[in-house]
């Protein structure tokens, strides 16, 4: 992003929280031990410097106004270690089953070779664990950080600083990959750990692939999951990307998606967020090739005191691209939802067609939704719009359903399903739509119980 996007920052306070100190020290120690030479080492050290300078964001940092990470992160759990067979088995039990998919598993942020179908990936797909990719000078490893945004993002800085585990995945140009590839992340066991993973994916020109990311973990354990994906959708390529964030209810989940769309590229992305005590999912999307089409949709379900943040920054850099965003949030109890979406249309990005909508359903008076849609347009011939709504269930609809014999809870469930269904409709695969609805219905049934 250019200087025009840079928010005005309040002067930084030198005050450091204990968590910030701990993170900086751990990061320093890790870097001393393993960063090594070369570009990756430099990238990691630069991330540490940035973290030292800016630390964790708080309410006075514009992009984190509604999600005060500095206040939320009190303790930093120890870095995770390589999983044994028992941990792998326990992790697998937490992972949702994706029909017909080839699976790659990360246990508490570490690659689990024994439970990954690395050798049995669909034709046209090649993947390497990140450490091997770096050691082997895989060209994809060399792209790490290439899609980083210009603005400081603490979650991404930490992910970059601790960068070691993850995956590079390449889809051959022209490959039509029928079987989905499931990138599963799970935090098993009763001890909190911190795990950082980076996935670098390049989808070759004209290829088509379906990727499913899932995030799960033990209920009641305050682990930290920090994941970042860099995804390049090549010219004319099509990517279906489904994200299932179902972390344990005490977890911290920080997710980042960095995205670059080539000429005529298509992305259909859906994200379900229903886990973690605090979650933030940031998307930095760049439309870099004419005629690219991106559809980003998602559903957030939160209850208790859960806090769930979805923040999008979509940068239309060239002409004739289309972006569609539809996000639905359902908030029960005293949960807190945040949606921040910004579409930037640069001066040369004429004929940009961008639509963004965020709709929230509050099931309780104590729930809170913060919607912040923004457009920043520097071109003069564009069609862009955004909207945001917050409401409760419709009493008239509820009475109509009840007058037909549906008990209150069932009537509510039907209306909530209809509410989130509009977003799920955006997913093309019927099998994945069913999987998503099943996960959501299970969540909603638990709420009612």
């Amino acid at each position: 992003m250019s200087a025009m996007d840079a928010p005005v920052r309040t002067p930084l306070r030198p005050v450091r929280t204990a968590a910030e100190e701990a993170l900086a020290l751990t990061l320093q120690a890790t870097l001393d031990a393993e960063a090594g030479q070369g570009r990756i080492g430099e990238v990691r050290r630069a991330a540490l410097d940035a973290f030292r300078a800016h630390g964790l964001p708080h309410r006075r940092v514009e992009e984190w106004k509604y999600t005060d990470l500095r206040a939320a992160v009190r303790d930093v759990p120890p870095l995770s270690t390589a999983p044994d067979a028992a941990a792998e088995a326990e992790a697998l039990a937490l992972v949702p089953s994706v029909p017909d998919a080839a699976r790659i598993l990360f246990v508490a942020g570490a690659f689990a070779r024994g439970a990954s179908d690395l050798a049995a990936l669909p034709e046209g797909v090649a993947a390497l664990p990140l450490d091997s990719a770096i050691a082997a000078a895989d060209p994809l490893a060399d792209r790490i950080g290439a899609l980083s945004p210009d603005r400081y993002d603490a979650a991404l800085a930490l992910n970059t600083g601790f960068l070691k585990e993850g995956l590079t995945l390449h889809v051959d140009a022209g490959a039509r990959v029928a079987r989905p590839v499931h990138l599963a992340h799970a935090f098993p066991g009763g001890k909190p750990a911190a795990g950082f993973t980076r996935t670098v994916i390049v989808v070759g020109a004209g290829a088509e692939v379906t990727l499913v990311e899932s995030f799960s973990g033990t209920v009641g354990v305050a682990y930290h999951a920090n994941h970042a994906m860099e995804l390049v959708v090549g010219d004319g390529a099509t990517v279906h990307l489904v994200r299932l964030q179902e972390e344990g209810d005490a977890a911290l989940h920080l997710g980042t998606l960095m995205l670059e769309m080539g000429r005529g590229a298509k992305l259909n992305h859906f994200s379900l967020a229903q886990g973690a005590a605090l979650s933030r999912f940031s998307v930095y999307g760049r439309f870099a090739g004419t005629g690219a089409q991106g559809s980003l949709s998602g559903v957030t379900l939160a209850r208790g005191r859960q806090h769930a943040d979805t923040t999008l920054l979509l940068d239309h850099a060239v002409a004739g691209c289309e972006s569609r965003e539809l996000f639905k949030t359902v908030l029960a109890d005293a949960s807190h939802g945040v949606f921040q979406g910004k579409i930037v249309v640069r001066r040369d990005a004429q004929k940009t067609d961008g639509r963004m909508m965020s709709k929230a359903l509050l099931l309780s008076d104590a729930a809170e939704m913060d919607n912040k849609p923004e457009l920043e347009i520097f071109a003069d011939d564009v069609q862009c719009g955004h909207g945001a709504t917050v409401g409760a269930l419709d009493d008239k609809m509820l009475f109509y359903l009840r007058s037909r014999g549906l008990p209150q809870a069932e009537a509510e469930l039907l209306l909530i399903q209809a509410f989130v269904g509009e977003a799920v409709e955006q997913v093309e695969s019927e099998a994945l739509r069913e999987l998503l609805m099943d996960r959501m219905v299970a969540w909603l049934a638990k709420r009612a119980a």
């Binding site: 009475f399 109509y400 014999g405 209809a418």
Partner: protein, 249 residues
């Protein structure tokens, strides 16, 4: 079947039903006519349990059971059905999903087994064509994009599937042209049975040309002020409600 005694009901501070008495025996069709604002629709909502209304006095006995303490869904399961004057649109809930959920909820409440998918589909295929409900309309969201007539036909389809003991039709003729009215009336008449009663609320007599009532009541200012045979409807069509307005003045 239905016995209403001295029913008083309010919305907010506004008392709308002011001591209404009405008895409908098994198998009979009773019509309630009356000027706008006489409380006809309020009566239908109070009987079906709409939360906005407060019953301040009186009793409603349905099939020997006091229903005023029951939730709307419990009244439905007991066999009470309200065909809405303005059926509600529910985007995102497919009509078929809704119909099946309603049938099964009522069956479950009565301790019966859920209807199987094949049996349900068979039943709908049997009942829908008579009401001119196309498969496309059944797939769409509940009442979404339906014309006024289609919404009313959808109400009657629900009635045919749920087989209630008491059907309350609230201004079912409003917004219908004569052809649509005939289709709807035909659907209603097909449901006439010695064990099913109906309460037909209407402003105009013309619906009663097609659904012939056993008894006609005139409602005014929250009470039944006159009752008679079906010829009373014709008389009202001639003279209008002016006489009642004067009485009240």
């Amino acid at each position: 079947m239905l016995e209403i005694k001295n029913l008083h009901a309010s919305i907010g501070d506004n008392e709308i039903l002011k001591g209404l008495n009405l008895t409908i025996p098994d198998g009979e069709i009773h019509a309630i006519m009356g000027p706008n604002g006489s409380g006809k629709s309020t009566l239908s909502y109070v009987l079906s349990g709409k939360p906005d209304y407060e019953v301040t006095d009186g009793s409603v006995t349905f099939d020997g059971q006091d229903i005023l303490a029951l939730a709307p869904e419990e009244r439905a399961a007991a066999g009470l059905f309200l065909a809405f004057q303005y059926p509600i649109e529910i985007p995102g809930v497919a009509n078929m999903t809704f119909l099946r959920a309603a049938m099964n909820a009522q069956r479950k409440a009565r301790g019966e087994e859920e209807i199987s998918t094949p049996d349900f589909l068979k039943l709908v295929r049997q009942k829908a064509p008579d009401l001119g409900m196309s498969p496309e309309m059944l797939r769409r969201g509940v009442n979404v994009g339906f014309s006024g007539g289609e919404k009313k036909r959808n109400e009657i389809l629900q009635m045919a599937l749920l087989e209630p003991k008491l059907c309350i039709l609230d201004e079912t003729d409003s917004g219908l042209d004569i052809d649509a009215l005939k289709v709807v009336a035909h659907g209603v008449n097909a449901l006439r049975s010695p064990t099913r009663s109906m309460l037909v609320i209407t402003h105009y007599q013309r619906l009663l040309d097609h659904i012939i009532p056993d008894v006609v009541h005139v409602m005014h200012k929250g009470r039944i002020v006159r009752s008679g045979g079906k010829e009373l409807a014709l008389e009202l069509e001639e003279s209008g409600y002016a006489a009642y307005e004067q009485d009240a003045a």
